[in-house]
């Protein structure tokens, strides 16, 4: 097991290198550069000075190795072009924790709520309760989180005046309620669907019938045996959703005025802020890989038949 984990962690290095390389060259082949926004164009000599200052006057392959060496030798992702005086690490340290906290809270809600709803639905298939949870799930999956966020703002902030329209203090303030719920609805619905179908499938297995024949109570059977085995697909989905949710959402963060990292995934690309593009891409990639690893480890606890040796 330990060997396996070490091997997996070592495998992250070449994967990151491939992602780094693809992102780097994709971004440099995209037309446009970082030095011009809407407005009066900068004179060519100014653009040349700026390119020289940030090393963009060198051939792209040289820039590639300089950038790569900066990361390997100093862990330096470079400075943002569009935010003067802020390095990529500053941006990640300032804004990622906000998205991370929101995302973790949202996933906590999503996993608890999703498994609960899924189980409710699986208890009596095709009953009214099941149809209701199915409806909720379909609503959650098909409604984008920014629509949910807007609806919640209109309902709870504008009409009822219970919650603020936006902003950010800490996770444990009223300002966090709407974003947490808006972010959790999608993954919750997904997890509910997976739980339901997975539990239904497990329940028709032979060993469940055997346990039932032994006279075990329905609740015991359900929670301890059926649910445990049904969790494998759920953990897979939850793991990937988590990487997705903790990196923030451009729309939810914009609408609710939350200073998270999500918007940088979008604004860095439109501004051609190369170091920030690389930084956010690598952040997301490393989170996805970390989650995959954790999910794989979780499998061994859920299913004793799975072994990595």
């Amino acid at each position: 097991m330990t060997n396996y984990i070490i091997r997996r962690i070592l495998l992250i290095i070449p994967t990151m290198l491939v992602i780094f390389t693809i992102t780097f060259f994709l971004m440099h082949t995209t037309p446009g550069g970082p030095w011009d926004a809407v407005g009066r164009p900068l004179p060519i000599h100014v653009i040349e000075n700026l390119n020289a200052k940030y090393g963009l006057d060198k051939p792209v392959w040289q820039q590639y190795f300089i950038f790569l060496w900066g990361i390997i030798s100093r862990g330096d992702l470079g400075d943002s072009y569009s935010r003067a005086g802020q390095s990529v690490s500053d941006i990640i340290v300032d804004h990622f924790p906000v998205s991370l906290k929101l995302g973790l809270a949202a996933m906590g809600v999503a996993v608890t709520g999703g498994i609960f709803l899924g189980m409710l639905g699986a208890l009596k298939p095709n009953s009214v309760l099941d149809n209701l949870t199915t409806f909720l799930s379909v609503f959650g999956i098909s409604t984008p989180n920014y629509v949910v966020a807007s609806l919640l703002v209109i309902l709870f902030a504008v009409y009822l005046d219970w919650l603020p329209t936006g902003g950010w203090d800490t996770l444990f303030s009223k300002k966090a309620i709407i974003p947490v719920f808006a972010l959790s609805l999608g993954p919750m619905a997904l997890i509910a669907r997976y739980t339901r179908s997975s539990v239904l499938e497990t329940r028709s297995q032979d060993y469940i019938r055997t346990i039932r024949a032994k006279g075990a109570s329905e609740i015991y059977l359900f929670v301890v045996h059926a649910l445990r085995n049904a969790l494998i697909p759920v953990v897979t989905v939850a793991g990937i959703s988590l990487a997705n949710v903790v990196t923030g959402s451009f729309f939810v963060e914009s609408i609710l005025m939350i200073p998270g990292i999500g918007r940088y995934f979008v604004t860095s690309v439109t501004a051609r802020d190369y170091p920030v593009i690389m930084g956010t891409a690598l952040l997301y990639a490393s989170l996805v890989m970390l989650m995959n690893l954790l999910v794989d480890i979780a499998y061994t606890f859920l299913d004793p038949r799975i072994r990595y040796n």
Binding site: V46, Q86, P259
Partner: protein, 581 residues
């Protein structure tokens, strides 16, 4: 049993692990004041507008300074200022004029008046300017402001390693351009000297009448070069930042808010007119959608109104009076390639311009937020010349006639015509309206080529070698000088070729006007130059740039400045009155 427990909680382990990571990764958090802020917000009912205007968070944080007057501003343009460095500043950054003080003031009135300088005088031949600094000026950390500070700041701007955005404003200074190009490396050869603490001498290459206006610009604002060396990239952060303006930066939470307070060491001429004790800028990613609701809720005192909200605001009894249009010396323009068919024919250019109904464009598509153009440059510039501006009439019959004379009766045989513009909302609206007008009035089909703003720069530069049909543009006057419209747009020596307009008579005229010393003759020459452009229309002006501000009625003296919104906060009289009630 242990195994079972483990199984049940296995998926939770994943999350708890990350939870702990998340908690430790979080840097400094101000938990306590935030909690207080929450309760303060609870207690405060937004029923009374006056009360709501006071940001509750402040009261909680600084209960002792309750009487302090705060102006809450929804910052525009939408999100954070990209920089507080004058070398990376630009037009429309309202923060700069509050934080730094240049030698002269070229914005408050038509005349250029001394600001940080007590006086300035020109030599006989107009090539040397001697500035005498006011005595006793101090930076916000209490250090004295010296002429050497200005010298070092100016040299920093033209140092190629700084890569400043607008070093060309310094190019009239002797050897500045060579220094910026790296051909001279000794800063002592540049025509900027500081013989003593209060004297700054600037030597020009040749007389340059508009140069003094530049000295009032953000590029000529001084910075603390010693602190930039000390703090490196972090010199702009709150706590490190030191300026010499009437305000100082006390707080900057990126993407959330930025707070200015009066600079206690400031003794310059704005001392008595800077009425606001504290300005809080709300920095939001989506200010266009958040500004109006926040303003209506009384959460902010000053905000900018998006064009789409205007009809509703202007119709309401309550808000119509709070809408203030501020004109900016800028024009939205269409640039044509005068060396390429069909726009090499002056009749085609005239026809295209005559067929534009600017009134409908401004009132309809743009909802009355902007003034329709009647001449190339906006009214605040001396070159503005609407008299008999041929290209600015709306005359469809004449346009058709001209087009027929050029060989395209009813648009027949008109070559493929492409307009390149950046794909932002307003440009999109304008281009669609124009496409319809030309189709209906002239029978011409034009192709729209929207480009992402960042891709427009490469496109523009590549057009120096390649021909094109028409491009959409926006031209601002950084200083209130006609050269910002004529020489900046048309001089063939510019790095961007734009319209390739090669009317030698016009080029000679505007070049002569640039160095003309007598202001009246100079204005007359530029007016004449503009009438040539208004007749030949290598560049079509569509409407003049402006901004629409929403200002709460209790904010007084929120002045409109012709070419910049930068100085407004110095004049503003914030919700002070209501505190006295």
């Amino acid at each position: 049993m242990t195994r079972r427990l483990m199984t049940l909680f296995s998926f939770l382990i994943v999350f708890t692990m990350l939870f702990s990571v998340g908690c430790t990764a979080q840097p400094t958090e101000t938990e306590a004041p935030v909690e207080e802020a929450e309760t303060a917000e609870e207690a405060e009912e937004p029923a009374e507008e006056e009360e709501a205007a006071e940001e509750p968070a402040e009261e909680a944080e600084e209960p002792a300074e309750e009487a302090e007057e705060t102006l809450v501003v929804f910052r525009q343009p939408a999100n954070e200022p990209d920089s507080l460095d004058p070398a990376q500043g630009g037009f429309g950054y309202q923060e700069f004029a509050s934080l730094y003080e240049p030698l002269v003031d070229s914005f408050s009135s038509q005349e250029i008046t001394p600001l940080a300088a007590e006086s300035f005088e020109f030599s006989e031949d107009n090539t040397v300017i001697t500035f005498k600094l006011r005595e006793g000026l101090k930076w916000s950390d209490g250090e004295p402001v010296t002429a050497e500070d200005y010298r070092l700041s100016f040299l920093r701007q033209i140092d190629p390693a700084t890569a400043a955005y607008t070093p060309q404003e310094f190019f009239p200074i002797k050897n500045a351009q060579l220094f910026n190009a790296g051909e001279i490396t000794d800063p002592n050869e540049v025509g900027i000297t500081a013989p003593d603490d209060l004297t700054l001498v600037i030597e020009l290459e040749e007389p340059s009448p508009q140069f003094l206006s530049y000295v009032g610009n953000s590029n000529f604002m001084p910075v603390r070069v010693d602190l930039i060396e000390e703090y490196g990239d972090k010199w702009m952060e709150a706590g490190n930042h030191v300026g010499n303006g009437p305000y100082m930066l006390v707080e900057w939470e990126h993407d959330q808010r930025m707070v200015f307070e009066k600079n206690p060491h400031y003794s310059g001429i704005w001392k008595d007119t800077a009425h606001v004790d504290r300005i809080e800028f709300v920095l939001m990613a989506d200010a266009w959608n958040q500004a109006v609701p926040a303003f209506e809720a009384g959460e902010v005192d000053v905000a900018i109104a998006p064009t789409s909200e205007l009809p509703r605001l202007l119709e309401s009894d309550e808000y119509a009076e709070m809408v203030n249009n501020v004109s900016i010396a800028g024009s939205v323009i269409l640039i044509m390639d005068t060396a390429n068919e069909p726009t090499d024919d002056v009749r085609v250019r005239q026809a295209l311009s005559l067929a534009i109904d600017r009134e409908t464009l401004a009132e309809g598509a743009l909802r009355g937020a902007f003034e329709p153009a009647v001449s190339l440059s906006p009214p605040s510039l001396a070159s503005h010349n609407p008299d008999e501006a041929f290209g600015y009439q709306y005359d469809v019959e004449l346009a058709k006639e001209l087009l027929a004379e050029a060989g395209y009766p009813d648009g027949e045989g008109f070559p493929e015509f492409e307009i390149t513009y950046w794909s932002v909302d307003r440009a999109q609206l304008v281009m669609q309206a124009l496409q319809a007008m030309w189709k209906q009035n002239l029978g011409i089909e034009v192709t729209l080529n929207p480009l992402e703003p960042q891709a427009m720069s490469d496109w523009r530069i590549s057009r120096n070698e390649q021909s094109y049909n028409m491009q959409y543009g926006l031209n601002w006057a950084g200083i209130a000088d006609p050269s910002e419209f004529h020489n900046a747009l048309f001089d063939p020596n510019n790095s961007l070729k734009r319209s390739r307009y090669d009317n030698q008579e016009y080029i000679d005229l505007m070049r002569a006007a640039l160095v003309e010393g007598d202001p009246d003759t100079r204005a007359e020459m530029y007016r004449e130059a503009e009438s040539i452009i208004n007749e030949d229309v290598p560049i079509i002006s569509l409407f003049y740039e402006g901004q629409t501000w929403l200002i709460q009625p209790y904010v007084e003296n929120f002045q409109e400045i012709t070419s910049s919104v930068a100085l407004m906060f110095r004049y503003a009289q914030p919700p002070g009155l209501m505190l006295e009630q």
